[in-house]
Amino acid sequence: MDMEFSPEDLAFQQEVRDFIAENYPAELRGKQDEGEELSKEDFLVWHKILHKKGWIAPAWPVEYGGTGWTPTQRFIWSEETARADCIRLMPFGLAMVGPVIYTFGTPEQKAHFLPRILSGEDWWCQGYSEPGSGSDLASLRTTAVADGDDYIVNGQKTWTTLAQHADWGFFLVRTDKDAKQQEGISFLLIDMKSPGITVRPIITLGGEHEVNEVWLEDVRVPQSQRVYEENKGWTCAKFLLAHERTGIAGVAASKRGIEKVKAIARTELDGDKPLLANAFFKRKVADLEVDLAALEFTELRSLAGPNAGRGPGPESSLLKIKGSEIQQRLTELTLEAVGHYGAPYFRGFGEGDNEHPIGPDYAHRAAPTYFNMRKTTIYGGSNEIQRNIIAKMVLGL
């Protein structure tokens, strides 16, 4: 057992650093630094650069377009992209439906959808939660009724992230009303331009339009767009949720977040000293670093340990709980650090508005981000549900 990088790993690390330095778009960097709301195109520009390089899907098997990197190389990759504050890649295609399709899909589905996910041609969204089905996802009521070679889908989904940009959505629908809850669900891929789909915005506490309601009225979906067997969609759903949870640990991004908090606390004054010299504040930063180290090594153990390659198990719930708590504490500490300037509400730059926003740049999104990130302990299976999973699957209670 050791934790040193080999010479090959170090060379790889240098290659990654050089690549990012030479290829990360300066314009995008500027928008991120200013806290501007990012457009669909902004999200895709880095995606396309990585696709061209062949580095867009390190976690995928090589045969479907993966990089063939070792777990250590993948760790280096996520470290370096976070360190350089590269924009987050949208997970809906790459980390969610992509793995479902290459694991459970037909040869035709693989051939059609996987290349388009890799290239960024299709933007995906996730049709899981419903107004009456959140933590109790299996109680979902959206129905798909067979009609010739098609299904007719009716129902309502909610919390659908960035559905306003989506070309395709993957949906959990009920295909057997009489079966036990989990056994009557199927996994459908639906073209978001299909007649009968309506996307309505939900505005969240920071003023963002990030999530949506999606209404489906007599939407016709070819049965060839069902992944895996009819009524076996829950298998895909569970597989996907476990995948989603590992990504949710967000270790590398939290590391970068701690560096940002420290930078703020070195600038903000507390009397005649920087805030970071304040013993109470410093202790909170230290507590976060210690907890993040514990999360990081727990994740590394599950990535590179004896179970490596078997796919995420119930231990991913631990990563989700601890990772989301750390992300929230980071936003809380940032808000605390900016003091009075957490209060001004910065609504983004209006048309022709060249006036500099109120307060330091790093303060503009502190409160909205704190409000928004309350979602992390709710989405992807709330942390209460994750604890139930650990109790049942790990502790055997």
Binding site: W159, L205, F280, F281, G339, H340, G359
Partner: protein, 379 residues
Amino acid sequence: MDFTYTETQDMIRDTLARFLSDTYDFETRQKFINSDSGRDPAIWTALAQELGMLGAPFAEEHGGLGGGALENAIVMEELGKVIGIEPYLPTVVIAGGALKAVGGAQADAMIPEIIAGNAIVAFAYAEPQGRYDLANLRTTAKKDGAGYVLNGHKGVVYAAPWATHLLVTARTGGSQRDKDGVSLFLIDANLPGVVRRDYPTVDGSRASEIYFENVAIPGDALLGGEGGALPLIEQIVDEATVAVCAEATGVMQKLHEGTLEYTQQRKQFGVPIAKFQVLQHRMVDMFMEVEQARSMTIMGTLKLGLPAAERMAAVSAVKAKVARGANFVGQNAIQTHGGIGITQELAIGHYFKRATMIESQFGSADHHMDRYERIALAD
């Protein structure tokens, strides 16, 4: 010992609660906080002229109801329950408190204007470099004949876009963090050279950055002694801190009640989620925080008249406890609601936003624990 309210105090609470339930429902509030001016001036006028509420802490000789800090706490708690954005805190509690403390002709002239609803005062004390240190001031007031000339930058001045007057802390002597040399001025908000940048705040109010550019102010704008106003400022900020804790109590109560109600309606796994023990215990913990916040606020209110050191230790204990309680209750109200708690549509998220801003208003929990330790645990 007696913790019951007087009949008059009960009447103030009932009258105000009834008025607010008629005028301040969530949809109405959202409408006016999103309007150009960010408020409905008719509410302030009604509070003054129909309810006499702006006279709650003032002496009857000024036209008030003869109350004090307890009456302020009652009004603030009721405003908290509707996440009211009315500028009662800066106008009545803070400026009113300063005027009561200095008395004399300035109080005689200004207090009736406050009670009548004609004067709105914003408290311009914070500066970008100063954090929660009231003496950390770069704003200066230089003697000039009979008056002063004001220069400097005040940050995040709540209610300033609506204000007729500004209560300003400034240096008439000493260097940036000295305790001596601090003065307090009550000035007309529209004097030449007062430059404002107005903006909305994340908790639904309005505030301004205020730049004083060679503002000529009259000599009688000075409240209290020149250069020796810090103890007075500390006193009125302590009064304001307790008043904000009273507001927090109202906010926290609503967060808790809203959560109880929601969990009894919301069904998952075939039962109301309030049936799950993990949520029951969490709601019990929230309840205990609300009750302790109320207890601490009462303690703080009753101790405002003590000598400075004891008062400061008590107020810091109150604010630290309430700030932590507001954090816990707010975060768990959202968590228990789930996704719906994060939307703009439900009131609960807006209570959470106000609770969050109260946490750091007049000093974070850390700031107040530090002040408490320095006074109460000094060897």
